[in-house]
C-alpha cells in the first residue's frame, strides 16, 4: 500500500492554501493531476543545466537534451509495454493523438460505406475527430450505447461490429461514469470482424498497469498531465506496421529525411509524426512522471484508488438527494465519482465546495452526449489520486451537506 502522508510530501501544491487559512482539498485529478517535486525539478534541471534543441546540435547541451528527451520516450515505452520506442509518438495530449489518428489513418483508409464505431461514453476527444474525418471521407460514424448501470451494452456492440467497421475507438475507462471497460475483450471483438482497435487510455494509464501487448490494441492515446506529468505532452502509441503505412500528418522540420523545393521524403518512426521542435521540457517531465509512478508501483496506485473510491461511494451515499452516476461498486470503476444533487446545480455545488477549499469538476466533463443520454445537463465530479486521503473525502461530504443548507434543502 501507499504511504499517503509520504506521497503528499512530494506534492508542493498540497501545502498551498486554497483561500487564506483554508487548506486545499484537491479532488480534480481526472481533469489534471498535480505534479510531484521530482517532475518539477526534472523540468527545471533541463532549463537550468542543458537547455537546447534536440535532434540537431553537435554540442554538449543538445546531445544531453536529446539523450534525456529520448530516454523519456523509452520510459514511456516500457511503462505501457510497447514493443518498440518507435511506436511511441509524442504529441501534445490524447486529443492530438486522436486527431493524428483520425486525419492520417482515417483520411487515407476510410471511404463511403465504411463505418467507424465509438461508444456513447467517449470524451469529446474521441468523438469530434471521427465526426470530422467521416464527413470528409463519406464514412459513417456509429456508437455503442451504455446501459442504465453505466456499462457498455455488449449486445448492441455485437450487432454494431460488422465487416463494414474499419476501426473501433473506445475508452478504457470513462471520465464521467468511472466505468472500466473490458478493453482486451473489446479489442478482440473488433479484430474478429477485421476492424482496428484504438483505445483512449487517458483515464487508464495514470491509474493502473497498462500493457498494450496484452490488450493487443492497434493504437492508444493518453495525456501526460493526468499522470503527474506536465501539460503539453501526450502519447499516441501505434503498431509499427500501421504507423509506417500511414501518411504524415503535419509537415516541417524533424519529420523529413530529405527536402527539395518540389518534394520531400519522410523520416522514420516515430519522427515522421513529430514535425517541429517538440515540447522538450515537457517530454523530460513526462519521463520523470513515469519514474515517479514506477517508484510508487502501479499496483499500489490502483489499490489506493480502489480503497478511496470504495470509501467515497459509501460516504457520498449518505448525502440526502445525491445520485451517483455509473457503476455502484469500486471494483467496476476507476478513481472518480460523478454525481448530482436534487435541486442543487453542479456549478453551485462546485462554487460552494470551493469556499471550503475543495476542488471538484462541475459541468459536462467534455462528455456532452453522455450527459444528454442520462437526461442531465451537467454533473459534479470528485476524482482521486495517489495523495487523496479519507479525511479529504470526509471534508467533501461535510461541505456537500453545508451546500445543501445554503440552498435551504
Amino acid at each position: 500500500m501507499l504511504d499517503v502522508q509520504k506521497v503528499r510530501a512530494d506534492f508542493p501544491i498540497l501545502n498551498v492554501d486554497a483561500h487564506p487559512d483554508v487548506p486545499l482539498v484537491y479532488l480534480d485529478s481526472a481533469a489534471s493531476s498535480q505534479k510531484p517535486i521530482q517532475v518539477i525539478e526534472a523540468m527545471n534541471s533541463y532549463y537550468q543545466e542543458y537547455n537546447a534543441n534536440v535532434h540537431r546540435g553537435i554540442h554538449r547541451l543538445s546531445e544531453e537534451a536529446t539523450s534525456v528527451y529520448e530516454g523519456a520516450r523509452i520510459k514511456v515505452q516500457k511503462f505501457i509495454n510497447a514493443p518498440s520506442h518507435e511506436e511511441v509518438i509524442l504529441v501534445r495530449n490524447a486529443t492530438e493523438g486522436f486527431n493524428l489518428l483520425a486525419y492520417s489513418w482515417g483520411g487515407a483508409n476510410l471511404k463511403p460505406g465504411d463505418e467507424v464505431l465509438i461508444t456513447a461514453m467517449e470524451h469529446h476527444a474521441n468523438i469530434v475527430p471521427w465526426q470530422i474525418v467521416c464527413e470528409q471521407t463519406g464514412a459513417t460514424l456509429k456508437h455503442v450505447p451504455f446501459t442504465d448501470e453505466g456499462t457498455l451494452d455488449m449486445d448492441a456492440l455485437d450487432e454494431l461490429l460488422t465487416e463494414k467497421t474499419k476501426i473501433f475507438s473506445f475508452t478504457a475507462a470513462s471520465n464521467v461514469l468511472g466505468t472500466i471497460n473490458p478493453t482486451k475483450e473489446l479489442v478482440a471483438k473488433a479484430h474478429a470482424v477485421g476492424a482496428l482497435a484504438a483505445v483512449d487510455g487517458a483515464q487508464a494509464v495514470p491509474h493502473a498497469n497498462v500493457d498494450v501487448q496484452d490488450w493487443n490494441c492497434d493504437f492508444m492515446a493518453f495525456s501526460s498531465h493526468k499522470m503527474c506529468g506536465p501539460t503539453g505532452i501526450g502519447v499516441l502509441y501505434g503498431k509499427a506496421e500501421l504507423l509506417n503505412a500511414m501518411p504524415p500528418w503535419m509537415g516541417g522540420g524533424d519529420m523529413i529525411r530529405r527536402v527539395t523545393l518540389e518534394k520531400s521524403t519522410y523520416n522514420d518512426l516515430p519522427y515522421k509524426f513529430e514535425a517541429g521542435t517538440p515540447a522538450i521540457a515537457e517530454g523530460i517531465g513526462l519521463g520523470a512522471a513515469v519514474d515517479y509512478l514506477n517508484a510508487l508501483g502501479m499496483d499500489n496506485v490502483h489499490a489506493h484508488e480502489q480503497a478511496i473510491t470504495s470509501y467515497a461511494l459509501e460516504a457520498l451515499s449518505e448525502v440526502d438527494g445525491l445520485t451517483i452516476l455509473g457503476p455502484k461498486t469500486a471494483a467496476e470503476r476507476g478513481g472518480l465519482v460523478a454525481f448530482t444533487i436534487d435541486r442543487l446545480h453542479p456549478h453551485d455545488i462546485a462554487q460552494l465546495l470551493d469556499e471550503d477549499g475543495i476542488a471538484v469538476r462541475a459541468g459536462h466533463h467534455c462528455a456532452m452526449p453522455m450527459h444528454k443520454i442520462m437526461g442531465i445537463g451537467a454533473s459534479a465530479r470528485a476524482s482521486f489520486y495517489v495523495h487523496t486521503t479519507t479525511d479529504e473525502v470526509d471534508a467533501l461530504v461535510t461541505s456537500l451537506n453545508r451546500a445543501r443548507k445554503v440552498f435551504r434543502l
Partner: protein
C-alpha cells in the same frame, strides 16, 4: 462569500423564477448554451407596434446564478426597444445580480441570458 453570491434574492429567484415559460406567438425566439458547462437558456420575445418589448419569457436549465440572472434580465428589459437592448452588456447583467465577487467562470453564467437575448434581437434589428 456564499452570503453574497447566494443571497436570499438569488435563491428565491432560483426557486420561483420571474417571466419563466414560453411565448407563442412571439416575434423572435432564440436559444443558446454555455459550451463550457451545458447551461441552456431560451428567450421568447413579443414586440409591440413601436418595436418595444411587450412580453418576454425565458426557459432553460442551469445553475442558480444563470437562472436568477435570466429572471432579472427579462424583467429589466420589458418596455425597451431593440436598440436599447443592443446597448446592454455583460456588466449590466452582473450589476442586476448585485454580486460583486463573481469569478471569471461564473460571469459566463451571469451573462448567458443577455447574450441569448442580444443574439435573438440582432436577427430582427
Amino acid at each position: 462569500m456564499s452570503a453574497d453570491m447566494y443571497r436570499e434574492m438569488i435563491l428565491d429567484l432560483y426557486e420561483n423564477p420571474l417571466n419563466h415559460g414560453e411565448l407563442d406567438p412571439c416575434t423572435f425566439s432564440h436559444e443558446e448554451d454555455n459550451p463550457l458547462c451545458g447551461d441552456v437558456v431560451k428567450i421568447d420575445v413579443l414586440l409591440d407596434d413601436d418595436k418595444k418589448i411587450k412580453e418576454i419569457k425565458w426557459s432553460g436549465d442551469g445553475c442558480a446564478i444563470s437562472m436568477a440572472s435570466a429572471s432579472l434580465m427579462t424583467d429589466h428589459v420589458k418596455g425597451m426597444t431593440i436598440e436599447e437592448v443592443m446597448e446592454l452588456n455583460g456588466q449590466d447583467a452582473v450589476d442586476l445580480l448585485g454580486v460583486s465577487n463573481l469569478s471569471m467562470g461564473r460571469v459566463k453564467c451571469a451573462t448567458l441570458s443577455i447574450k441569448v437575448l442580444k443574439a435573438g434581437a440582432s436577427a430582427v434589428q
